[in-house]
Amino acid sequence: MFHIPNIRTLAAASFSAAILATGISAPAHAKDAIKIAVPAFLSGAAAGPFGVPARNGAEMVIDAINAGKLPEPYSAAGFAGAKAEAIFIDEAGGNAKQVPEYRNLVQKRDVDVIAGYISSGTCAALAPVIEELQRLTIFSTCGTPRIFEEAPRKYIFRSMAHATADSVAAAHYVRTMFPDSHSYTGINQNYAWGQDSWRDFDLTMQQLDSEAKPSEKTQFPKIFAGQYGSEISAMSLDKAEMVHSSFWGGDLESFISQANIRGLFKKKKAILTVGGTAAYRLGKKLPDGIILGARGPYGILVRDRDTALNTWFVTTYKDRYGTYPSGPSYQYAQAILTAKYGYDKAMKDNGGNFPDQDQVIAAIKGAKFESFSTTVDFALADGHQAITENVYGITKYDSENGEPGVTDVKFFPAECVMPPDGETSVEWIKGGMKGAKCN
């Protein structure tokens, strides 16, 4: 490669230097305020089940941190003392929209931290851009393992386990609770999330159960199809004992109402890997006896965890928004807390001075701390990918209090459901999940 003088410097010499000033980012110095951008779906189908609860979770925690109202050990006000201004942006509109929007956040609106993102496709599309723009970004919810499998990342963290854990834990749960059921079919949306979820679940089942019998006709309807009459018929005629689904949002709720009245859940055990997001939305309409996941230890599955942080989170959320926090609320709150943890620790390491971005990154790298519902351990991808335990349960409506609940809740340690560094998810599962510690 040739070395070429910076074009922009040359151009600046011959034209005006004044215009250039906007392009240079300010050096880090002591601040009394930082800007945190929180992208989440605010419009479209994912707004209700994900975006709005996510936004609420982030908003509530940012407010509490600014006011110094979080329980110990996070009661110090601010991010390294600085108050945060939250900027909420819509994640809808596709990747081609989100890439320039991310650029705007960093270069035009000059935010310090970006914490959020739900769509895997968007996270994957943004990853190279984030590395190029070099701004601390904490992915909160998106699940694709690709982010850190493709390349090492310096500026990206992900504060929850990736999607492989959900599918692997689902298979473990089924094997533990229903060792006599071997045959299963699936209904998953025909896009990357649905395809990956089914693949990982199917592969794991085949590893854990020598008699595993996947159906030949698994359903992949189009996302947002809404009408599942034919699919429910086809699955009713199928002999499989279990149905796996990674449906979410309106599709999931439509599917549950249509399948419930047609008795599908009486004939087959349903495993809904993201059913947790629908639990409170469906309320009494969520039938009993469904195996429910929430993409980790979040939402309805950990509502009754008796820790100071969790109790604070659940009660404050319910007071402020009128419902219990669902998975995305927890996940976004966790991403914000990661930033808080990073800033505070970096300040301590920096002798009490306000840290610069590199110091915050160094502080988060490999960190292990208590979040609202679980322990977050940035153990993978050189300390950038968090691992947490995973959990499944079975729905049981609590008619006494008039709210949905879960029974038979089982937790699986992080080391059991996440692949170790250096192996892709599929290789790891196919290789028999070596190194998994499940007890």
């Binding site: 419009s43 479209g44 034919s230 018929s233 005629l237 709720e253 439509s254 008795g263």
Partner: protein, 300 residues
């Protein structure tokens, strides 16, 4: 394939075809008469569903029986069709009649964007459930599997809509005027037909049919943002296959797509995603204007 499977495929196909027919017949009617491909048809569908779900919720809260919720479906259909249909035609479309067909499509695309966000602002992001009508009718076993009676009534509704439109078009004076306008607009004007009035009545009728589709489907789904986007493309495919502007075409298009999809779901679920568009492309390659396109005269 055993008898039960064949029967199931047939009923699944018919149910889905009925759904497709109800949501697309309004589109084809409006196109036939007004030469407008109305992208905002999806909004009538969405608004119909929201209105029905909201009304059903209110109605049952007021203590009325589940069975009477069907009334609310009818109310939602009429209210949305009349109000929204009237507003869209009067405020936007009537200024578009002299413009290019494709510009009009874009105008309806703009309306689509506006009305889609308007729903979000008015009804919020949380889902509406209104499954009382579905539960009121219960379920029955046919061919070894359980079905909802409500799903079967969809077939009846489609037949009623089809026959109703046929009677309207062939047995009433207004219907004959409509057919005259479909065949030759300029000639109709010179014969003294008030085409503007025909237009607005047609558009409101089309809007009602769209709203009926949404209102009737509402009890079976979670009415939440974004659920209607897919309906645009799906109903386009149906009317393109059948021949745009033809009501028998919409019936045949809906049957072909519905049954093809049911066969795919039961036998080759992996190809379900492009069945609809593959059928559409094949039909259009051989019958450029669809199976039942009304004849168009070449003008010199």
């Amino acid at each position: 394939m055993d008898f039960n499977t064949a029967l199931t495929i047939l009923i699944d196909g018919l149910e889905f075809s009925s759904y497709l027919f109800i949501v697309s017949v309004g589109l084809t009617l409006v196109f036939g008469v007004m030469k407008i491909l109305n992208v905002a048809h999806a909004n009538f569908y969405a608004w119909g569903a929201y209105m029905a779900a909201w009304l059903i919720g209110r109605w049952t809260n007021m203590g009325f029986s589940e069975g009477s919720t069907f009334l609310m479906i009818a109310v939602a259909t009429i209210v949305v069709g009349l109000v929204l249909g009237y507003l869209v035609e009067r405020c936007v479309l009537r200024y578009m009649y002299e413009r290019d067909e494709v510009v009009t499509v874009l105008a309806t695309f703009a309306l689509f964007l506006i009305l889609e966000d308007a729903i979000l602002l008015i009804f919020g992001v949380d889902p509406y459930f209104a499954d009382q009508p579905m539960f009121a009718l219960g379920s029955i076993d046919i061919g070894g599997i359980t079905r909802t009676v409500y799903g079967l009534t969809m077939i009846a509704v489609a037949i009623v809509v089809g026959i109703g439109l046929w009677l309207l078009l062939t047995k009433t004076t207004w219907g004959r005027l409509l057919i005259a306008v479909i065949h030759d607009r300029e000639m109709s004007i010179s014969m003294g037909i008030n085409v503007k009035r025909v237009y607005i009545v047609t558009f409101i009728l089309g809007a009602m049919l769209g709203a009926l589709g949404g209102a009737y489907v509402a009890p079976t789904i979670s009415v939440a943002p974004g659920f209607a986007v897919d309906v645009v493309v799906l109903s386009f495919a149906v009317v393109a296959i059948g021949g745009m502007g033809s009501i028998p075409g919409a019936i045949i298009g809906a049957l072909i797509v519905g049954i093809a999809r049911a066969i795919a779901v039961h036998n080759f679920p992996q190809v379900e995603l492009f069945v609809v568009f593959a059928v559409m492309a094949i039909v259009l390659v051989f019958k450029p204007e669809g199976l039942f396109a009304p004849e168009r005269s070449r003008k010199i």
